[in-house]
């Protein structure tokens, strides 16, 4: 057989579609969650009152089983759901959010809702580890908010950011659970992820293709993590 399984896999349109969708999802979801998490962490780190309450609010989605919340998502984004009814109220046509091109946006939203809190906590930990003296010195030297952020916060938070990034990528690859619960075995073509592909191959007893796909994904993720480690170590050296 040799590389025939890989060759067949790479020629498979379903695999290519799944890979493409996964990349698009990562490209949109991961930066978005990173930015939002960092933003919320910065806001929470301003010393506001009720920090523990807000932190709990951010953590709660992480501890709630997705399966129980999927129902809410379906009610919200069904063709005759709350959102569509709201649109119809304003004279716009109803949209089947889960079974249309909008399904990717719904999945991204679900992914952010689920994982944002965890990332915020990680970023908060990273932010808390930055010595306060650095900020005080910078303020005495006349540094502004943006300067403090770019010159102090960002460099010091890069290791945490890297960790959050890796975790976000891993979580984004695990979004199959949400996708499966939201749209079933064969979801809309826009949210047909690699996990869907692998799960279906497993169900069809096509282990050869499944193994080839798993190996390929492992290689790709390994390479990606390697690149990220290199990048992180370079930044770490710069900081030192």
């Amino acid at each position: 057989m040799g590389l025939k399984n890989f060759e067949s896999l790479l020629r498979s349109e379903s695999f290519l579609l799944a890979a493409k969708n996964t990349l698009i999802f990562n490209a949109i979801g991961v930066p978005l969650i990173m930015l939002l998490s960092l933003g919320f962490a910065l806001l929470l780190n301003t010393g506001i009152k009720g920090l523990s309450f807000y932190r709990s609010c951010f953590i709660l989605p992480l501890v709630v089983p997705v399966a129980s919340v999927i129902l809410v998502w379906q009610i919200l984004f069904h063709e005759h759901g709350a959102l569509s009814q709201l649109l119809q109220h304003f004279g716009l046509p109803a949209v089947d959010w889960i079974n249309s091109k909008w399904s990717l946006a719904v999945l991204v939203l679900l992914y952010i809702w689920k994982n944002c809190g965890y990332n915020v906590v990680l970023f908060l930990a990273g932010l808390n580890s930055i010595p306060r003296e650095y900020y005080e010195s910078a303020r005495i030297d006349g540094a502004g908010l943006w300067t403090c952020f770019t010159q102090i916060t960002l460099p010091f938070i890069t290791p945490t950011g890297f960790f959050v990034l890796v975790l976000s990528i891993i979580n984004s690859l695990k979004v199959f659970r949400e996708s499966y619960q939201l749209a079933g075995n064969y979801p809309d073509m826009h949210i047909y992820m690699l996990q869907n592909f692998m799960n279906n191959n497993f169900a069809n007893l096509n282990y050869q293709r499944l193994s080839a796909a798993a190996f390929l994904i492992f290689v790709v993720i390994g390479l990606m993590v390697l690149v990220l480690f290199r990048f992180e170590s370079r930044i770490g050296r710069d900081l030192e």
Partner: protein, 429 residues
Amino acid sequence: MIHSGGRRDLLPKNAHKGVIYILLTAASAALLFPMVYMVCNSFMESREVMKAYNEIEEKKKEIEKLEAQYNRTVEEKKMAISVKRQEIRYFRENSEDILPDDEYSLQFSQLRLDLKRLENDLEDYISSFELPDITHYEKKFNQSLQMVIEAQENLKKVTETFAIQSEVRLRLNEAQKRYDDALKQVENSIRTLEQKRADAKSEQLVYTQTVYEKKTEIQLAMLELDQMKKYLPQDGMLTAPMDAMIKTVSIEKGQASSPQQILFELIDKDSRLSIQWALNPEKAELLGEGDDVSFRVKGEKVELIKGKVGKKEFSSEKGMYLFASDVPAGSGSIREGMTVEISASQSSGEYELIIPNSSISTQGGIDYVFVLKERYGALGKEYYVEAVKISVIEQDDFHSAVTGALSSQDKVVSMSTKALEDGAQVKLR
């Protein structure tokens, strides 16, 4: 010495804390919303289901009530129509009689009112009648068709995308299943549509028939109305309402008339007079049903009116036979209540020998007659009688037809002053 003011000192002085709170609160609310909704839903779902179930039950009861009310109304209307038809039929049968003017006008007005009601009823029926709305089913059909088209497109797309891979087969099957379901739905929609169209057609037919019936009733009523209009007094002239004969004239030219006064009495040309009479059983034997009879007004010398015996019945009370015969009204001078003479003739066979009943003597159950004979004795020509046995064939009150050793030349004794016996000498007077 640098005074450390804590984390708060790190904030920019111009930072708006309100904005930060708003942002964080909004984010927290967005994150918590699905969970809050889920918790609320867990308490509300069962209540909503019960509410929906109760609503369905109430709707069902409401529908049942409406159906019952509809059936009752339909039944009442049907009965009202039936009664109206019977009333019209009854009026039609009895309108042949001549009525006084006022009563006639009243009934005429009533008929016109009924006609108007019928027209109004028809108009109401037409205006309230609505064909079943099948646009909903057509819309559903179109939606199903659209689903088929979408399923076809999806199938095509899936087929192109997923070539012939094993997992593709499942997807293809899925798409095929969706296509088949959509197709089935289309077929169901077509069947429903056809059914609804057939129902609509059938209701249209019923509607057309009902309208036709109503129109026919109106035409009939209008015809009757027109007929009655014809006989309405016009310019003081009274016209005959039918083909009839004037039985009596109760007024003369120049005389004044008053309301309710009978001016003329008409008899239907086609009506007949019944003449009845009774006969004792003996005479009644001669007259049977279908026999010819003649009638003549007693005391008048006019031509006889011929008729036939229509009915013959024995009255045990009177001990007589009752006869009845119908003659056309207006025949001759016979009028109702008159006494008439009745004559009947009966033709019988031809007899060679007919003798008076007084000629026949019966002795020992044997009928015989005495025939006059001549002989020459000591005193010259003398007469004597000879008994001849006979058989009576037919007999009436006066004569009898007989057979026996008689000839038409024989002289039969019809009367005698003394009792006769065979060979007795007699004298002629």
